[in-house]
Symmetry: none
Subunit: 197 residues, 4 copies
DNA sequence: AATGAATGAGTGTTCATTCAT
DNA sequence: AATGAATGAACACTCATTCAT
């Protein structure tokens, strides 16, 4: 867990190179896709030889799996007690993150590789999708506890209703549309309101 | 003699081969992704020589563009006058179609290739995403005209709210979950109901 | 020998197409070289299908051999009885012809193909080189008969001395240099003069 | 420690392979021509993988350019002070060199490729043609200084007159003819003699 | 540890030629 | 006769991986 797990003999591996390689790999994965990126490109971007990469990760898939695993987990949840504002904040931060790292291309790559390298999509889920969903669900749970949401509501479905429009808009070519987060939150909260009768 | 004008000399092009190539290309595109599939594989699957493919489409991108363009456009809309049932029918047919053609892998490929071959995503949109959205919007418009939906509602946003959960569920590893369509429709219709006051 | 050698049944072959193909082939041979030119290019330039070419000539080599064989033979010799002027005229016409048809590239192609398709160089010799040499030798013979040239001189060697500088200049990157013909003729005639003592 | 600066890490590149590749490339260039030779053939002849070639030279043109550039530059000039003998020696060595490396095919290839890969002809000139011409011109200059040649003579033209018959003979199918060098030298020297009056 | 050399499998594409209309 | 479809062999080049230093 520290710097030198097993002390071992010989020169220790450079931690800077580890990091440089992983970062370069992740950027190339998003910008070129799994099969179109090459280890030579990674090596060049990380200022390292190709063999140095293979020394650490046996195959291309191993490297990219490690690169995805290094993605940062999640942010601290906002805590304003204003359900609508909190949800919108989380959704907007989600969209901003995706846009910053060419996220749709990265998501696409993991989807495209699912049959061949399922670890990629699994890691993407575990590291980025699920933590974000947890944040949203926590806000919804608090809202339910405060009586703002119908007690029996399926909160996982509600989370999908909040995030879904982002994907659907992108697929429709309407990605980045203004107000999408507000629309999604308003529609969901309206649908979840208690005592509709 | 007669219509010799555009009769066309020489051996006519085999329509079976056309179809076999396009089908093989589409299947391989979904199962392997753009860069991992090869024209040799397409040729082998279609029982055709590689040159026969190049005779019809100049490049790999041309072939796959054509394969995507051959995707069926839209379905006949259901006409039951029952808004909820119609929407659910459309969404379920959408999900079934996606599953039948390994649709998420195909979508992933098009997303991953967006930077390199944007025509793929464009065609996927034009041929599959937008027609489906049109169907949904027509049902919503009729519902609005019948007074079931608030007059000022943004119906495009509503369409994204209907389709979005499908994508979000898939990304969360909850793809194919029972009742997703009903949940999405119920939430959306509840949120769009008129006279909330 | 006429248009329809053996009358045969069916439609007679189009003579215009024959000519168009041969001309296109020759031009492409000079501009692209044997291996870099393609029968598709010939077909396109001659406005004919590839099969029409194969109908007349079995292989690419056959076609190009025929194209070279169609090169025009030689010009009528000038007859001014002025040896120097006549030689210069012939040499300049030779250079002009070579330049007009990208002759050095054509010569290069035939030389390069000598091991593989020796007919090409043989035809080039027979149709273009040797006729020109004959012209030069005739002028020299008349000059010798008139006593302007030493009786025992080797006239074939003299012909090579007249033509050679053209090739040597081209190889040295001095091709097309002004006055080369005059220089060559003057040097040769000076060397061939009788009664040097 | 010491000159570690440009010591170079990793496995050193095999010099034998370098040489084997270049030699094989040159031989195939002369025997097959630029477009008809293949890198597979070079690899096989040099007992090397195709990738090993590409590791050293990025493209086919690069490789063949390097192969031509490796041709030996010039010979030591003979220094017998006997102008006629020296010129004949140089010319005969020239002819022998050309024959040894299938020179006319090589020249043909460079001429044929001039439009497409002009570096080939340029290198052939620089490495083989021009050094040889320099040798000849030096002998002629010394002869002129000794008064054996008319002072105002154009020595470059004289060089072309010396070398030219070799090319002209080859084109006429008289290549390798006995005595060509003596004939060329005698004719040129006779034409260049001073005080013809 | 780190590097660069070396490789075999594979890519999309071109082409001369043959086949069916 | 003339055409266009169809093909197999070949091409230059790339890449992930292994080997020697």
């Amino acid at each position: 867990m520290g710097e030198t797990e097993t002390k071992g003999a010989g020169r220790p591996r450079s931690a800077e190179k580890d990091a440089a390689i992983l970062q370069a790999a992740l950027e190339l994965l998003a910008s070129h896709g799994y099969t179109r990126m090459s280890l030579s490109q990674v090596a060049a971007a990380a200022q390292v030889s190709k063999s140095t990469i293979h020394l650490r990760w046996k195959t291309k898939a191993d490297l990219l799996t490690a690169a995805l695993a290094a993605l940062r987990m999640a942010e601290a949840p906002p805590a304003s007690r204003d359900t609508r504002a909190d949800l919108i904040t989380i959704l907007k931060d989600f969209a901003a993150t995706v846009e910053r790292v060419r996220g749709m291309a990265l998501i696409g790559t993991c989807l495209a590789e699912e049959a061949h390298t399922p670890e990629l999509l699994a890691l993407l889920r575990e590291r980025t999708v699920l933590p974000r969903r947890t944040l949203l669900r926590q806000v919804l749970e608090q809202a339910r506890d405060r009586g703002e949401i119908r007690p029996g509501a399926d909160l996982e479905a509600a989370v999908s209703a909040l995030l879904g429009p982002f994907y659907a808009d992108y697929m429709a070519g309407r990605g980045g549309r203004m107000g999408w987060a507000e629309d999604a939150v308003d529609l969901a909260l309206a649908g979840l309101r208690p005592t509709d009768t």
